[in-house]
């Protein structure tokens, strides 16, 4: 296992390996997505309080989970790159940023579309929404900082530090609905006691969450391959790879 991880961290091996697993990830994504959509939009019963509008949950909640998860991956791989100078860790960190930014924006937009009929407003400056907006700015800051620095190794170090500082925002987002009296509803799934959601609603939600995770895997690999090719364009393996074409 350790040997495999070690191998995977080498750019040419990663490039070949990722090219092979991508179609499998796509298949897996489609399977979980189909069940999640069918279960969520067709099979799951109507919510007794929110009517059919609650069905936005099947994209809103997984997108919001991903916005936090990807941030943690970005910060941790940034730290690994910072400490051990592993090139692939730097690549994973910067390749995660745009996908994380997209999911954060989607969580905000779908939440806003859900909020309009349920709360009567598109936006409210309350704790959950504001801290999630701060997360979006952190992602955008990381991307802008990376693009502003010419030398990509320095740029990676800079974004790792920014990402690590921004980690304080993550527990704030998670606990915001408990610490403050917010408009946003409390957690339904991630509670330590039984989740307050029926299985027929929960299973499609979890399936969508898995689908979005696999999607992140796809997006990450696709972007990491570009980044590697770009960074390593003057090395032997890239020359060899493109030699036959």
């Amino acid at each position: 296992m350790m040997r495999f991880i070690h191998q995977l961290a080498s750019p040419p091996y990663f490039y070949h390996f990722s090219g092979k697993v991508l179609p499998w990830f796509l298949g897996l994504f489609l399977v979980f997505l189909s069940y999640g959509l069918y279960g969520g939009l067709v099979l799951a019963p109507t919510d007794y309080q929110q009517g059919e509008s609650y069905r936005i949950i099947y994209i809103h909640v997984p997108a919001a989970w991903m916005s936090l998860f990807i941030y943690m991956v970005m910060a941790i791989s940034g730290a690994i790159g910072l400490i051990w100078h592993i090139k692939l860790a730097d690549v994973v960190a910067i390749s995660s940023a745009p996908i994380g930014a997209m999911f954060t924006l989607l969580a905000l937009v779908t939440g806003s579309i859900w909020g309009k009929p349920m709360w009567g407003t598109w936006w409210e400056w309350e704790a959950r929404l504001t801290s999630e907006l701060v997360l979006l700015f952190l992602y955008l800051g990381v991307i802008a900082l990376y693009n502003a620095v010419e030398d990509k190794r320095t740029a990676s170090r800079a974004i790792a530090i920014l990402a690590l500082v921004g980690v304080v925002n993550i527990p704030i987002i998670h606990y915001s609905v408990e610490w403050w009296n917010t408009l946003h509803q409390g957690p339904t799934v991630t509670k330590f006691d039984k989740p307050s959601i029926h299985l027929s609603m929960l299973l499609p939600l979890l399936s969508m969450a898995v689908a979005f995770k696999v999607y992140y895997g796809i997006g990450l690999l696709v972007r990491a391959r570009n980044e590697l090719l770009q960074r390593e364009r003057n090395t032997g393996w890239v020359r060899e790879l493109l030699h036959d074409e």
Binding site: M102, L106, V238
Partner: protein, 54 residues
């Protein structure tokens, strides 16, 4: 047909539900298609560069 209409109507929330889903899927597709296209153009560019150097 009636069932389909009912499904699209979403109990009066159709505009909200479908716009949320629509935006999400367009964004998710673009976020993979764009880097994939960049990948092939980057490969083409590098191949040309290598050929010139030879």
């Amino acid at each position: 047909m009636n069932n389909l209409n009912e499904f699209l109507h979403m109990g009066g929330y159709g505009a909200y539900v479908w716009s949320a889903y629509g935006i999400t899927f367009v964004a998710m597709i673009l976020a993979v298609v764009i880097p994939l296209r960049q990948h092939s153009s980057l490969r083409q560019r590098l191949i040309k560069q290598f050929k010139r150097k030879k």
